[in-house]
Amino acid sequence: MGVQLAVFLENRPGKLESITKALAEAGVNIRGIAMASEGEFGVLKILADDPEKALRVLREHHCTVSRRTVVVAMIEDRPGGLHELLATLAAENINIEDCYGIALEEGHRAAVVLDVERFPEAEAVLRSHGLRLLSDRELTSL
């Protein structure tokens, strides 16, 4: 499992930049990032190498941040790689609220960040199907 930070953002020029700047200056490495927006506002999702530090930095910058536990699963970077993972969750009727991918080594390995309901059960399901799930520490060292 990993810790994902979700930041509330007004959709204005320079907003995203102010966040990457704060994290860069604090020496936080962003391992994964995704953005969902609705026009006037959005939610920025960050997978950081040091989530607790990132959380502290963002709060110091008056950001509205939510800390969520997510599944980070390793998949092979090939056709069908993601599908096999999703098929296992679908078979167990586990709903995915949010999902984005990060390529780790092109053509070799990739990771998928999954925000799922029924969290521990989802992890167990994936493990039982032989998928490798990354911990925070592993995320840092990838």
């Binding site: 994902q4 506002f41 999702k45 509205t64 941040v65 949010d98």
Partner: protein, 431 residues
């Protein structure tokens, strides 16, 4: 030219005598209401000896009206009441005003008097674009126009294409409209292919329910090629029909056989001499269900010196300059910032800071409410934010009767709540 020549042109001496008689009757009636039984306890049983003595009586505030809800100001038996009108919302209490059959008849007559004085006659066609319902603007003019005998189209506000269709096909000659809506409506004519100056028979507009400048009136007159007359009223007195411009368009005759005006310094309460600007205070002279003594309207104006060439002896007030309190008027709807605050604070997903901004968009007022989200309940999904924005919009609309533009903002972007934060920024310049 006069609907009731005797009333409208009686000599000042006669009018003052009449006012004193009606004032003492009003005081006697008002004492039957629980509020005034206490508030007027020290007023002599036989009443006042002169109009000047009125200045010794206590004011009646909107706050007292609210705390008297529901029947603290009712001076007649409940079964004498045939209608009520009410302000928006349920925060605190709304201001509810009751009417007997007699009150309604007097109100209708006043509106008929106003309309007649500007030249409206039975062969006119009247399209009433004000809101119907708890708001007094629509219904007040509706019954007044019927009393005058004018064919009345109770179309209400909005739905601009249908407004233009009726204006054209029924050859409407008289409208009652918000000044901001009159300007907005004009911009929609080109797409309908109707030329307001060539294709319409429009000749008179009654504009009111929101403060506006002389420049706005001139603009409406020029755009449509009509005359526009300012209308003033407030639901506490009856609704529209309290004061109205005559053909001279040089101030609004306040119908002094129905209402006694004073202008006071809003901070000291001192009565100001004629011509000085202050808060308008009104005493009803004929109202039965809910007589009000020295009611503080919150409206800033002055009593204009001198006589009007129209021959009416009732004094004129200047167009309304603003408010002595923080009441907001959004497209003719009256509301208080506290209604917004209380609604927001009852929603746990939002933080304590908020900002109200009002601006013009295509001539209409827009009310924007910026709110912070509460980090403690933020789960980090977009859908919860969308739901939250929709919920805040719906709850505010239910409370204030205006659909706001709700913007979720980051906490740091709003002024902090310490001290007296400025919560309302009004970017409209009345023009």
């Amino acid at each position: 030219m006069y609907w009731e020549q005797n009333c409208e042109t009686m000599s000042r001496d006669e009018l003052n005598g009449y006012q004193l008689r009606m004032l003492n009757q009003t005081i006697r009636r008002a004492r039957k209401a629980p509020h005034y039984a206490t508030a007027l306890a020290k007023t002599p049983e036989k009443g006042l000896a002169s109009l000047a003595e009125l200045a010794g009586l206590p004011f009646t505030s909107k706050a007292e009206l609210r705390s008297g809800f529901p029947y603290g100001f009712l001076a007649v038996a409940r079964e004498e009441v045939v209608r009520l009108h009410s302000s928006s919302g349920t925060t605190g209490n709304p201001t509810v005003v009751y009417h007997t059959r007699g009150d309604i008849a007097e109100w209708e007559n006043l509106i008929a008097r106003c309309m007649y004085s500007t030249g409206v006659r039975r062969n006119d066609v009247f399209q009433n674009m004000m809101g119907y319902g708890l708001f007094t603007g629509g219904i007040g003019f509706h019954y007044g126009a019927e009393r005058l005998g004018v064919m009345t189209i109770p179309i209400g506000p909005g739905n601009s294409k249908r407004q233009i269709w009726f204006l054209k096909h029924l050859q409407t000659t008289v409208i009652h409209i918000l000044p901001s809506y009159a300007l907005h409506l004009y911009t929609l004519f080109p797409e309908t292919g109707v030329d307001p100056k060539k294709d319409l028979k429009l000749r008179i507009a009654f504009i009111g329910a929101e403060p506006h400048s002389e420049a706005t009136r001139k603009k409406i007159e020029e755009l449509y090629g009509i005359k526009a007359y300012d209308s003033y009223g407030l639901s506490e007195m009856c609704g529209p029909g309290v004061a109205f411009e005559c053909l001279m368009q040089n101030g609004l005759h306040l119908w002094e056989d129905h209402f006694y005006p004073e202008v006071i310094d809003p901070s000291s309460g001192r009565v100001l001499p004629a011509g000085e600007e202050g808060e308008l205070v009104l005493t009803t002279l004929k109202r039965e269900a809910m007589p009000l003594i020295r009611y503080r309207t919150g409206d800033l104006t002055r009593l204009l010196p001198g006589d009007c060439p129209c021959g009416r002896t009732h004094r004129r007030i200047d167009r309304i300059k603003g408010r002595s309190d923080d009441m907001l008027i959004i497209n003719g709807v009256n509301l208080f910032p506290i209604q917004i605050e209380k609604t927001l604070m009852a929603i746990p997903q939002i933080g304590h800071n908020y900002l109200i901004e009002i601006y013009k968009e295509n001539y209409m007022d827009r009310l924007e409410v910026k709110v912070e989200i509460n980090e403690e309940v933020f789960r980090g999904t977009l859908s919860e934010l969308e739901r939250l924005a929709a919920r805040v919009t719906a709850e505010l609309r239910a409370e204030i009767g205006v659909t706001p533009v709700v913007r979720l903002v980051e906490p740091s972007s709003l002024p902090v709540s310490e001290g007296k934060a400025r919560r309302v920024i009004d970017r409209r310049n009345q023009g």
